[in-house]
């Protein structure tokens, strides 16, 4: 089996990049090997959205997911983490099919305005997810999975142990 054929059978995952654009902004980019309308569909239909928004590695589970994807429409996501429950909610501010969504995060005062754009290029989609926070402090506090990640220090713990292995040796 040559290398080309092998890569066709098991396509490489595209890379997710994260960049802190400014004190109040963070930008995540990722390419998907599908047309924009499909990525948009997976983002805006609750039965699909709930399949990917809460990866197992977060230790959280999604209890309910309501999304009324139109300008002025609301969304509400309820999560369970261990014994505690929390909800995230907000309003859609812009909805441009297959290309752009803007929504607010209203569960806390430091909530960001999130914008996601879908740009199709040769059958692939460049997705750019952008969060603008009211202040630098709000972004710092929300890093990771909103405030819920505060409780997942254990995961960070493991990560830092890996990252810090070099420090321990020195």
């Amino acid at each position: 089996m040559d290398a080309r054929r092998e890569s066709e059978l098991a396509p490489m995952k595209n890379r997710t990049t994260v960049e802190r654009k400014s004190e109040r902004e963070i930008v995540v980019t990722r390419t998907f090997n599908a047309p924009a309308r499909l990525v948009f569909e997976a983002w805006t239909k609750p039965e699909m959205f709930r399949q990917w928004w809460v990866p197992k590695s977060t230790g959280m589970s999604l209890l309910s997911c309501e999304m009324d994807v139109r300008v002025g429409g609301g969304y509400r996501l309820a999560f369970a983490y261990g014994d505690s429950q929390m909800a995230f909610f907000g309003t859609y501010k812009e909805v441009t099919p297959h290309s752009r969504l803007v929504w607010t995060n209203e569960e806390s005062e430091g909530g960001a305005v999130s914008t996601v754009t879908f740009e199709e290029r040769g059958g692939k989609t460049l997705l750019v997810y952008h969060e603008l926070y009211p202040s630098k402090e709000a972004l710092d506090a929300n890093a990771g999975m909103e405030n819920a990640m505060e409780e997942t220090f254990q995961q960070l713990d493991e990560l830092l142990v890996t990252l810090g292995a070099g420090v321990g040796r020195s």
């Binding site: 998907f32 990917w52 990866p55 710092d140 990252l163 420090v167």
Partner: protein, 121 residues
């Protein structure tokens, strides 16, 4: 050595779990400050702020130096590591999310292909 490293990380997490201490790190990220400056900024007593700075110092996040009667605080050597961990935490979440989204999109793509074939038949 692993034990030592673990203890250091535990100290960092404890240090970062408090909003005032995160605020102190933010402040010191902008400029060095004296204990008095910090107490004013965070509207705390000198004793209160000293306790917080002590926790940060133990975690290696802050260093202090007393010159004359003024104790100056600055960010410690561990700051860059924390910053990297912060971004990494974010990247892990979105990386995991988007890998899952990939699967959903792939299913949609396959379904469309099958539907297209059915229509032609």
């Amino acid at each position: 050595m692993v034990q030592y490293t673990q203890a250091r990380f535990d100290a960092s997490f404890a240090a970062l779990s408090d909003a005032t201490r995160r605020g102190v790190l933010e402040q010191l990220g902008r400029a060095d400050a004296s204990i008095t400056d910090l107490a004013e900024k965070f509207r705390m007593t000198l004793t209160g702020i000293k306790k917080h700075v002590g926790v940060l110092e133990q975690a290696g996040l802050v260093t202090t130096e007393k010159i004359g009667r003024v104790r100056t605080c600055k960010l410690g050597p561990r700051r860059l590591e924390e910053e990297a961990a912060w971004i990494e935490r974010y990247r892990q979440l979105w990386g995991a999310r988007f890998d899952e989204l990939d699967k959903v999109v792939e299913e949609l793509k396959q379904k469309e292909k099958v539907d297209g074939r059915k229509k032609r038949e």
